[in-house]
Symmetry: C2
Subunit: 164 residues, 2 copies
Amino acid sequence: MKKTSFQHMPCPVAQALEVIGDSWNVLILREAYYGAKRFDDFAQALGIPTNTLARRLKELVAGGILERHPYSEKPTRYEYLLTSRARDLRPLMLVLLQWGNRYGNMDAARTMLVDSYTGEPVDLVLVDRVTGLPVSSRHRVLRQRHGSPTPHSFAFPEPEAEPG
Amino acid sequence: MKKTSFQHMPCPVAQALEVIGDSWNVLILREAYYGAKRFDDFAQALGIPTNTLARRLKELVAGGILERHPYSEKPTRYEYLLTSRARDLRPLMLVLLQWGNRYGNMDAARTMLVDSYTGEPVDLVLVDRVTGLPVSSRHRVLRQRHGSPTPHSFAFPEPEAEPG
């Protein structure tokens, strides 16, 4: 099944999804965060067929998420290093981590973000860096759609969904 | 191509990805945030084949992301409403939005999160709700892997990736 391209969708969410690719690529990225660099690191951690892994690594390099660098000659072997684009995707990993811990199968809850100083798990909240205010019904996502004079928008989160 | 199930992976990120499904499902969720409720709303906004859309909506209902409610009798028609699980996925949408605006095709940058009071775009940062501290190299993701006595971990973000 050929993956549909989101490349020409005028939406940054679609753009991001286009570069990230599918769920397997997110797990490859996860392993890179944990320190995987070499093909065999990823293959062992993820247990996916090598031809599939090779294709996915190529996608992530093409998307500027990973950079391929030689680490040996004769034969030339490459390792895959995180780019700054990839580091900027870590919030994606963390929000998936938090949601998965909350709603996923509880056996999975052995992975968590902790504060190294206190040892406490972190309860993540998105905040406006400028005002310091948590994202709330005060904030709205605005989008201008083709052929629509007024932007669509939604409040985030809906007041009834406010935490605590 | 049968999608591999992440259901039994002991990782909350994989668990979250399993429920969310693929990129198209994220776009369906996006439309639900914008107010789409009925099959035709989603079909029109996304332009995907109706059989594909029907299958995806069923997946999202099965995953507890959408709830199906009848809105008319004779014929019975249903609308798809966001659940609290879905509202808790909005941070996912926002981090994708921010990343896509930063790194995606610039034509896409017409969608943004704004502060309704100031009209300013929001620069999102993840903060520990308890300490109020932005996620930094002080924080670590810890995971216990099968058959590994010591947990794997990574700092988030790496110090050199610290913003500003």
